[in-house]
Amino acid sequence: MKMIGIIFSDIYNSEMGELTKQRTLASVPFGGRYRLVDFVLSNMANSGFESIGIITRYNYQSLMDNLGSCEEWDLNRKNGRVFILPPFGTGQTSVSHGNLQALAGAQMFLERAKGEYVLISNANIVCNIDYQRALDDHIKSGAELTIICDRENPIYEDERRSLVIEEKDGEIKDVTIQDTYDDTKLCGMGMYIMKKSYLQKLIKYAQVHGLYHFERDFVLHGFRTGELSINLYEFKKSTLRSSDLLSYYNNNLRLLEESVRQDIFIPNRPIYTKVRDEVPTYYAQNAVSSNSLIADGCTINGTVEDSVLFRDIQVEEGAEVHKSVVMQGASIGKGSKIEYCIIDKDVTITEGRTLIGAPTAPIVIQKGQKI
């Protein structure tokens, strides 16, 4: 059964600090060679989606650069394409304030896209999920809306999720938003399946009734009034959800766990990304690398431990990189030491610098800076 995909590219922008200063959340680099949107887009491509719309609000130049013609996803076909859906501006609404309102910009796209069902998703979740199975479950349930969700325990006290569902024997007891959670409850993954015609009606209804927020104004309201029939599809593999800088940092380092990598990098369901034609990584005679994920094009002369290195990174002699996320094109100068850092793209750390953050507060060095 054909599905149409809609991706929100920038829902959590404001919580990601410096990383989204010059880009949308969807194009934040992740996991050594990817951007966040690569995962949801690859999941859609691997699940046979043919029409995918990406809703953007601001800063979408880097997103467009990353996607190009989408040939890497095999989505540059006559009947398989990705559409960037910039803000819907005909006077009354220009930049939208909520995800439900933002869907207004997707109406024309939805009308033309072929497929009976729609999956809408945020771009902040890294996982490898087969949406066809979720769709089968949705159809079988006969519900109007399927919420894809998972069970987790919070890493920090008072951590919250945008949609938390209390359920017993398949029956939904309560739905809350921005609530605390643990693994006795289900957390919405920001992925929803419904009929295209249902979503089209919802968008029109939301527009004239001033509804902004998909979770609050539609899901929660629908549950409380009993007007909406909800099906829950529980996804049981690793789910890395980046809702702020700290979770983003931790999620990158979680890729160092073998079980997480096995859940996410599945050989017959690859995660695609823009090809950059880098050479393989060179490890010099004095290089020490341990428990790290290292992409192509790097030159390692120093020490790299418990870290994620993106493409084309120079680690010079005597330099030490610990528990850090280092993005594309950065260089770590001789004798420098970094620990608990997020180093954005094209940063230069000159000789002999020391940057040490804390596990709960990693230091972020902005794109292009020279330290």
């Binding site: 996991g31 050594g32 060679r33 040939e71 890497e72 160092l256 073998e258 990598r261 996410i264 990098f265 690859p270 995660i271 695609y272 990304t273 090809v275 034609d277 050479v279 393989p280 990584t281 060179y282 490890y283 010099a284 005679q285 004095n286 290089a287 690398s289 341990s290 428990n291 790290s292 994920l293 290292i294 992409a295 192509d296 094009g297 030159t299 790299v304 994620v308 290195l309 993106f310």
Partner: protein, 395 residues
């Protein structure tokens, strides 16, 4: 109507079996053999073309073309998916009056005269698919035009003691060629032909047609076309190329060229952003280096998991080196696995091969100087637990 044409197109001879690469070419043509961790040999001439502004390439295939065809595809990884031009795979085909295989290098081009005519080029660049080098052909073309040549042959200065292994080109100081010598005992020059030629298409077309009509010809560029042109006093020039160049037609030279990548003294720089070598990409995750791993003076491509010791080696995409395994001075081609405590020293391991626990492949030269040589394991092989593959063995 304005006629669409190309100034220069390239014809890449990729039909050879490469029998001297033995087990590595039992399933694939030589140009499709893996190189340097993430490349295949054909990536070098194809990338050279693109980096030299040549956007039309005909690839002549004959031997085991499947892998090569699917690798090249529509040419997109090299930017050769063009509306007019781009990459075309040219296998031998049946014609109205006869059908035959490519009999020789010249015959292969002869059989594709229609393809070349379609682009109506001024010049045709002839390349072979078994060399590792980075070369800007546009400089060679400029040289060709400057000299008003009919044919320009790229030459590489080999050490004098090796001249007897090469086709040697004797030329005047201005580059004009007056003699060819095939593997001479006492060479007059150390200009070895690189098998890279630029011809004026009109002239080459005439010689190809005449050569085809000659029943005694072996239809080969080096043996027939070039000597005939020289005999007729056509303007042939030698263009000296002074970058890195290596014929990887043998197992030893293929291994050496791989090792050259990690040798800082050898000028084979793959990391030049202005002259990239492009390759088809298989969407692999970054490589994971385990706390138990030790990786020294080596190249590791994407999608690998390294838990053992890797020294002076090239580990290609998607390989696994398990705990306790030792890989030294070795080239491991894509998707192969070296299991626990296996030992691989001075070897080439083909693609999709598994070396099971405690197996041993190869030896240090010092351990057996008299009988030492590279050990080579082909593609899709399984080396059993505890099996020993000695030096010089090819399996």
């Amino acid at each position: 109507m304005l006629e669409r044409r190309k100034e220069c197109i390239a014809m890449l001879l990729a039909g050879g079996q490469g029998s001297r690469l033995k087990v590595l070419t039992s399933d694939v043509a030589k140009p499709a053999v893996s190189f340097g961790g993430k490349y295949r040999i054909i990536d070098f001439p194809l990338s050279n073309c693109v980096n030299s502004g040549i956007d039309t390439v005909g690839i002549l295939t004959q031997y085991k073309p499947l892998e090569l065809n699917s690798y090249v595809g529509n040419g997109q990884p090299w930017g050769l998916n063009r509306n007019f031009g781009g990459v075309s795979i040219l296998p031998p085909y049946a014609q109205a009056d006869k059908s035959e295989w490519y009999k020789g290098t010249a015959n292969a081009i002869y059989q594709n005269i229609h393809f070349i005519d379609m682009y109506n080029p001024e010049y045709v660049l002839i390349l072979s698919g078994d060399h590792i080098y980075k070369m800007d052909y546009s400089k060679m073309l400029a040289f060709h035009k400057e000299r008003n040549a009919d044919c320009t042959i790229a030459v590489y200065d080999v050490p004098w003691e090796e001249t007897s292994r090469f086709g040697i080109v004797n030329a005047n100081p201005d580059g004009m060629i007056y003699e060819f010598e095939e593997k001479p005992k006492n060479a007059k020059s150390n200009h070895a032909s690189m098998g890279i030629y630029i011809f004026n298409w009109k002239v080459l077309r005439k010689y190809l047609t005449e050569d085809e009509a000659d029943p005694n010809s072996s239809n080969d560029f080096g043996k027939n076309i070039l000597p005939n042109m020289l005999h007729d006093e056509q303007r042939l020039f030698a263009y000296v190329f002074d970058g890195y160049w290596k014929d990887v037609g043998t197992l030893d030279s293929l291994w050496e060229a791989n090792m050259d990548i990690i040798n800082p003294k050898v000028p084979l720089e793959l990391k030049d952003p202005d002259f990239r070598i492009y390759a088809r990409n298989y969407a692999k995750a970054p490589s994971y280096i385990d706390p138990k791993a030790s990786v020294k003076n080596s190249m590791v491509s994407e999608g690998c998991v390294i838990r053992g010791t890797v020294e002076n080696s090239i580990i290609s995409a998607g390989c696994v080196v398990e705990e306790g395994a030792v890989v030294k001075n070795t080239v491991i081609m894509p998707e192969s696995r070296v299991e626990k405590d296996a030992k691989i020293i001075y070897a080439i391991i083909g693609e999709n091969t598994v070396v099971h626990e405690n197996a041993e492949v190869g030896k240090e030269p010092a351990e057996c100087p008299a009988v030492w040589g590279l050990s080579v394991v082909g593609s899709h092989r399984v080396i059993e637990e505890g099996q020993v593959i000695g030096p010089k063995e090819v399996v």
